[in-house]
Symmetry: C2
């Protein structure tokens, strides 16, 4: 797609294609955001300069400024917006099959994102970053809200009561927290183990919440019907059963 | 303790005692921090000025600056340090009796703090606040670390494996998240209900984690021995038992 005029009059020899590709305004914008996201993913925001972004996109610094006159902060927020769109897709899974299977797919996708954008995820959520503003906080909150909405669609309760909604929002907080701990621990244990534990966490929390709330009880019963012995729920129930042998005295049956 | 020279030459009539009390340097410092904490507890940091702090402590603005030359940021961090010391005490409960009783007391204390310092707690933990720095983040992290250490002392495992430590740290994240949600919801449900649910959450998460980790299994068995039918664990077990009647097919016994 490069043309002679695109290359500019001073260059006779062919140059790296990316530097001189003619892009539409929205393509160029996307390209710059993509380059910024790549940098912000693996470095703290304070360690990324506009020169770095220009170099990564193989364009000049003034060009970056033409698209993002607000400089680094504006570029950071645009990159965050793009990352948020990607994160919001994680919990949009096909709405059929056992709930634990859907959560497994959603978490694989979410944790894959965390793995890919490790430093950026940490800088954004751990607080104290220079680029954090009420706008970035709002974007992060929107991701959380969207994840909660998707889970509510999965369990077929678009308008939940307070307990159910608090349970889901609290679990989402726990997923974020566990992701940060996982990054702190040098990404140990393997991602699949963390994901399995977070699905178990959801199930355990739903059971504990259902113990005191009728709506959660109905959600649990409907979910259990679709679960199978060879899936994550069956696996959890079989591993938990022996642990409860010693708890007979808690039933108060003498 | 007020003296004539303390009152200043222009005042003949007695003035409010607090304005003219002669305090030692450390007493004055504590008084200013206390006044600041009271203000930061109920307003966003951007809505608190040094004049407000001076007025609340009934001193002059220059006096506040003499003690805190770094101005509002320094005062905020000192107030946060003081709040952190208070929060760290929450999980230091007597180390005897059932674990769920100890967690109940710790959470009563923690959630009481959240209730008392609602706006400040929110501003600090929700991110995007102008006063957030890597130093404030470090103070918050220290509170979390201290809470985890105290819980480890309660369960008698000072040097935990990764799964157990991750479980405890994740639960602490969930407690913070649930506290913020509780503030968002206008402090509903009543504090005691939230506290009971968070204790249930701990128990459920310990059971789910014990299902895949020997160390957590040992912790669970030791904890269960001390629990009683009339305590929170007994209550939870009896409420959960009927929910599991429909889950027979998950055991894979045909």
């Amino acid at each position: 797609m490069s043309t002679a005029s695109d290359r500019g009059p001073r260059h006779a020899a062919p140059q790296p294609a990316v530097a001189y590709r003619r892009l539409s305004v929205s393509q160029r914008r996307s390209q710059l955001i993509e380059a910024a996201l790549g940098l912000f993913a693996h470095r703290a925001p304070e360690d990324v300069s506009l020169d770095d972004v220009a170099a990564a996109a193989a364009v000049s610094r003034p060009l970056v400024y033409r698209y993002f006159p607000g400089g680094k902060q504006q570029l950071y927020e645009a990159a965050l917006r793009s990352a948020a769109d990607e994160l919001e897709l994680c919990f949009r899974q096909p709405q059929h099959g056992p709930l634990t299977h859907r959560l497994t797919r959603a978490l694989d996708s979410y944790l894959g994102f965390v793995d890919e954008h490790d430093a950026g995820f940490k800088a954004l959520l751990q607080g104290g970053s220079v680029v954090q503003t009420s706008r970035t906080t709002a974007i992060v909150d929107e991701v959380r809200r969207s994840a909660a909405e998707q889970i509510l669609l999965h369990i077929g309760v678009p308008r939940p009561g307070r307990r159910l909604l608090t349970m889901i929002r609290t679990w989402i907080t726990a997923v974020e927290g566990a992701s940060l701990i996982w990054l702190d621990e040098g990404k140990q244990p393997p991602l699949s183990e963390l994901r399995g534990w977070l699905v178990d966490h959801f199930v355990a929390l739903l059971v504990a919440t259902a113990a005191g709330d009728e709506e959660c009880g109905r959600v649990l019963r409907r979910a259990v019907e679709l679960e199978t012995a060879d899936g994550p729920a069956g696996d959890l129930v079989r591993r938990v059963a022996p642990l409860l042998h010693d708890a007979g005295h808690l039933l108060g049956e003498d």
